[in-house]
Amino acid sequence: MTTELAANGKPFVHHQAAHCETGVTSALFRYQGVDISEPMIFGISSGIFFGYLPFMKLSHLPISAFRAKPGSVFRKAAKRLGGDFVIKTYRDPQKGMDELRQVLKTGQIVGLATNLYWLPYMSERHRHNFSGHNIIVIREIENGFRISDPTIGYLVDCLADGLERARFVPGPLNPRGYMYYTKSVNPHPDLRGACIKGMKDSCNLMLRIPLPIFGVRGMRFLAKKVIKSPDKLGFQEACRHLAGTVRWVEETGTGGAGFRYMYAVFMQEAAELFGSEDLAQLSRDMTAIGDTWREFSVVAARIIKQRGKEEETFAKAGGLIFKCADREEAFFKNLQKVVRKLKA
């Protein structure tokens, strides 16, 4: 936790977060005096999701997304909590940077979508061409900006050139200088109502999308693919795909286990808010689901390292995903029932 002053002298407190977009959104709300945690934002904005997209490739491997699409977390949270935000994209980089400077001078802090590859402070192993990384700019400093990146525990400096590139380089999910800041925020948001909306939306997203690649059905689809992969692709290629999946579960700023722990935290906080024992039980269920995803990652790593060849197989890894799918289906069906009883 570090404190930094914005351009008008208002203090900004930097918290470490598990994920970039939820971290940025909660920091924007906290800066305006609404005390709201990262998992709360994650739950309210229905961030939890699953989608297996074999036709979309990122670095030559299919995408298995464990969260709703970038940008939706912020938009849904703003809508449900009653915040009025200015959201802008630009064609002209120069204009985008000029407006950023002007807004910063008024004492606002600004959220930006940037490309991970071009952010100068990123370490080499984390740099890849993905344009959905969210950061907060606090104020302008000499030839650069002071930046709060929620996935890093401290504040960083970034050169103006580097930031301009990161904001405007075309890539997958072209950011086009995507920038957002608060116009006004409801100081006493209706947390209970927002939580209920978020939970209902999540249940629908996980259970009711009539396509086999989303929600729990998507998980089963992925599980089948994993089990068949060594026969279809050969051992080496299957390992590559498996490693790609594990990267989606663990690495891409999830706080571990594909956001499942973060949702468990949301359930716990919601249980306190509503005083509901059902939700507390659901939190424990979600923790168990997260542990199963963790187990999947560990098994996958053993397969890739070719240790314990006898007992660690692709069938076992796929079986674990099936187990997760079954448990999550039960979880969200329970949640549907529990939500109906809650009163806003």
Binding site: P39, R125, N129, G153, R247, E251, A264, Q268, T287, G290
Partner: protein, 138 residues
Amino acid sequence: MKVNEVPQDDVPDYSEGIKKGNYALDDQGKYVMVPSKGWDVDELTNRLAFNEYKAKVEETRKAVLEGKKSPLAYYMELRQMIPKFLGKTAGIATFRVKRHLRPEIFAKLKESVLDSYAKALEITKEELKTVPHNSQER
């Protein structure tokens, strides 16, 4: 996951001292944020992807030295781009970018086109005409 189960493995060249946030249960069964130094599993899958990327860059570099590809192909790989995005960044149509990956066509390019490529890839025009002779740096 309990607080004491949060992975704290030593993977210095992966994490570079940056700690990742993890949510874990404390003794009272309440979730808290625990910074994690790194995890072997995480590091392993990242290493595979990173080595693959490096191998590809190296392969392209050799192809350039053998005269099979143009230096543009090397720098495109190095910046993790594909012709579509390189074209968009430089303001050149994708099919032209693909043509420019051939050495004989690249050799005849106008200075203005080279300028826009150099700007898009953030290298100098002189760098763009050759590739490093031994393994790469970013």
